[in-house]
Assembly symmetry: C2
Homo-oligomer: 200 residues x 2
Amino acid sequence: MARARSEERRAEILRAALEVIAERGYRGASLSAVAERVGLTQQGLLHYYPTKEALLVAVLEERDQWDTGGGTGRESWRLELLDSLVEYNAMRPGIVQTFSALLGESVTDGHPARDFFTHRYTQVRSEMANVLRAEYGERLPGGLTPEQAAPLLTAVMDGLQYQWLLDPRAVDMPAAFRDFLSLLRGPAPQDGTEGNTGDN
Amino acid sequence: MARARSEERRAEILRAALEVIAERGYRGASLSAVAERVGLTQQGLLHYYPTKEALLVAVLEERDQWDTGGGTGRESWRLELLDSLVEYNAMRPGIVQTFSALLGESVTDGHPARDFFTHRYTQVRSEMANVLRAEYGERLPGGLTPEQAAPLLTAVMDGLQYQWLLDPRAVDMPAAFRDFLSLLRGPAPQDGTEGNTGDN
């Protein structure tokens, strides 16, 4: 019972931390701002997360939980699931803002999220390459190998998020991502165009 | 004479500001850290840039100068010039770090660089579309329109920068960007593969 309440409290704190980081970045965030948002003293917050860095690590781990839909893990991803992930992200700008801000900060000197992101991208590139290999074999229809396409797939997802966060009306993130997938798949037998030459 | 020295001083201050932002981000940067680096008091620095925000604006304008190689302007870009720009960027990680950190921060609430980046991306997407149209007409060989490809081109450049800054040995940024350009160009008559079936 006490344990369930403590878990609930932790979840509340993580949500508050996500918000504060989205608003101010990690360096601009303060433990007292997070504590205030959940009605705790800073001392009370430290009982759950003893340092600002420990809270950051928990936030980052939480993110990966969401991405992979809980226990399933990225190794079971397929290309259409990526498509759905981007659509899902377009419905949660707050979360995307938190992680885009953290990714940006992570390249500054000695940032506590740097190792997390470095490790994560190594993993993600390798998992993306596996997804692409399972779908297309050693050469994608667009001409690249899975290892060549994987960093591009990752870069497009991240880069589109910045453009979309800055100007959501100008950038249709899911549509742009589908355009990129169509490039990887190579020119189909003129699908879109053919439809237009039909008789309706 | 006094004017030349003042210009020189401003250039020094901008270089120092770039370094400090690369190390700490904008929110983590302080005017006193910039002042110290150029041997000025904070009061002395305020003579050149009256606020931290004014200094940031000057840094951002300076960046666009470099990108466009001085006066030429992006309207005269061609696709091969982009290729060279990415190669050039791979030789100046400090600058790339400054602007990747700023882009990341710009999506947080009320950030002073937000308008700059929003406006810049609107411009860049439109200029990229023009470059692509000049080269390929209304439909790229890979199947997209110039307006579909432009945000992807921009996203890949930004996204690759993060992966490369985090792990320069794992990510060959110029090579990955060339891979993306090859996707836009669509599958050539199997150039790479054909070479391998030859008799050497």
